[in-house]
């Protein structure tokens, strides 16, 4: 579904991604870990199409199409969803209004009929229950006055409504306590499916106890330097990221998806 080939990207003139290769298939959950500044969030934002991120080399194919040529709204309509690390507050715009417009833009693109207010609210009710978010929050202005945990739950709720093919979760666990983390992780897990793929970007191993990945990639200084399963996460938790520099990768390891 997603093929990233030799991706180089800069932000404000600084090269952050220095040749990332990654392949993701439907149904898979890939975790990306790495120290601060390694490029984890940059990768998430480049995939979502955020302005200010310049791709200097490489290619990204999403369902066979050139992703980097698409505007952010087009990527969303094609099925990419980014759960922000710091969801922005938009006072004056109701969550429901904005989400209904977004969903209908996506549906229209897919050749589906648009939902009217009534049907949309029924969908909202269903999805709010699924990801355990208070329906009342949904009717307020986007993220306004939401706590950190509520903002993250709102991201997952939007994901449930928009039904993406590829979901990118950018440090969804940052700023959350254990209880909030559990709720958010549950929401994500209910949305796992064989038709959907997920990229879970995280700094700490803890999230991966709740959202168990199929593959783990470690990003250091803009390159994937190690790949493995969830056990690798525990090793990193114990030994830190600098251990990777000292210890060469084991010669035999589980086969990883190749670009």
């Amino acid at each position: 579904m997603l093929e990233i080939k030799n991706l180089h990207a800069s932000v404000a003139g600084n090269e952050i991604l220095r040749g990332v290769d990654l392949t993701i298939r439907a149904g898979e959950v890939h975790a990306i870990m790495g120290p601060n500044g390694s490029g984890k969030s940059t990768l998430a934002h480049v995939l979502a199409g955020r302005p200010g991120y310049e791709v200097t080399e490489g290619q990204v194919l999403f369902k066979g199409q050139e992703l980097l040529a698409m505007a952010p709204e087009m990527r969303a309509r094609e099925g990419i969803f980014l759960a922000f690390q710091y969801p922005v507050e938009i006072p004056g715009v109701s969550n429901v209004y904005f989400l209904k417009n977004a969903l209908n833009a996506v549906r229209k693109h897919r050749g589906l009929p648009e939902l009217d207010a009534f049907d949309f609210l029924a969908l909202v009710k269903e999805k709010a229950k699924l990801v355990d978010i208070d329906e009342e929050l949904v009717k307020r202005p986007v993220n306004e006055g939401f706590s950190g945990g509520e903002k993250k739950r709102n991201e997952i709720f939007q994901m449930a409504v928009l039904d993406p093919t590829l979901a990118i979760l950018d440090e969804t666990d940052s700023g959350l306590d254990i209880d909030a983390l559990r709720i958010v992780a549950n929401g994500v897990n209910t949305l796992r499916s064989s038709e959907r793929a997920m990229i879970v970007v995280t700094h700490y191993q803890r999230l991966l106890n709740y959202i168990v990945p199929d593959f783990l990639h470690v990003l250091v200084e803009g390159r994937i330097v190690r790949e493995g399963g969830k056990e690798l996460a525990l090793e990193l938790e114990e030994k830190g990221y600098s251990w990777l520099e000292k210890e060469p990768p084991p010669s035999s390891r589980e086969p990883v998806p190749v670009a």
């Binding site: 952010p72 709204e73 969303a76 922005v88 715009v93 417009n101 306004e144």
Partner: protein, 450 residues
Amino acid sequence: MEAIAQDARTALERSVLDAFRESRSPRDPEWLSNVRRAGLDRFREAGFPTARDEAWKYTNVAPILKVPFAPAAEAGPRRLPDLDTAHQPARSGTQLVFVNGRYAAELSSGATSGEGIEIASLREVLATRPESVEPHLARVAREGNAFADVNSALVEDGAFVRIAAGAVLADPIHLLFLSEPDFGPTVSHPRNIVVAEPGSQAVVVESWLGAAGAQYLTNAVTEVVLGEGAVLDFYKVERESVGAFHVATMEVLQKRDSTFTSHSVTLGGALVRNDLNVRLDAPGASCTLNGLFLGSGTQHLDNHTKIDHAQPHGTSRELYKGIMSGKSRGVFNGKIIVRPDAQKTDAMQTNKNLLLSKEALVNSEPALEIFADDVKCRHGSTIGQLDETALFYLRSRGIGEDESRALLVYAFASDVASRIRVAPLRAMVERHLGLRLSAGDGVDLSGARA
């Protein structure tokens, strides 16, 4: 014959002096002649403002002065153009229509001069019972600016609204001013007087519209008095042509425990200057001034406000928001004076401006003069652009770029727009917000507000 026209410096000044000469009538009561004469004398002495005048340093009136605007010819009955529902009264409501500054009875409805409530043409009241007007005309507007002085010099017609003590009016009173120049650029000098007697409650909507693309000058003065405990909501909606000039002074005098709420919406005009001066002249008075101005193209929109806390326990709240695109320019100057006796004053002023293009410009100046020591006064001003992160957030969910921008602009204006309690008016403003941004069809923003 006085040689008054010879040393006139500009086309407009010449035209004003000519009009003054022609307007004087022996039938006018002496007090009215004095008002006019005093206005003319003040004008002749000061002249029109220049950039050297502090209050006009950002607003250059030269483009107005060089046009020989002349009063429109008196015309017979006209037809009302198709109007947005925002400018139509309720079925049993009142709407006074003025064309080129003159009352058009045949287009109006609900005018009344009963004991309790008087809603009538100023010209008629001056002709039939001038003693009703004398206590109120040019009493409030003390220190004028030259344009207001010209209005005094040439005062002829406008709306006279008096709401009797204790009267509570449910439907808004609509005052509609249409400009339709026939031959050449025209000027009108409407003078509106609104007297809300003690304990009364009413809503007044003053709308300014005109023929599309036409060039005209609206030089208006509105004087408002609120008696003890009166409650008045005043809406001013300016939607004149892109070739029009609008200079207006509104003076408000508030008595004890009165409540005044003003909503000023500026959408049209090549150059608009609103002076809104409120004097809290007795203890316990409160005022709320809301303003929204949208500029595009080369519009120049200037809002000057002054809130004079003259007595103790007064409350004022001010929220003005500007949205400027293209090469338009906005000016906001909010003066708050708290006099030595005005203890326990509670004043808050906020001006926020959104620039949608690189060439748009806003000058925002709060001006606080505080002479009492037991008061609460805060003010804040921001000038910024659309939040790029918010824009990306909306786009990342699939909403197109134009629509995302429109949504954010709407969100910016929504707290001021949502305060408009006259529903058709609010809907018109919300539509306008959506329309201004998209090149193509307007964006349907119904339901966008949370």
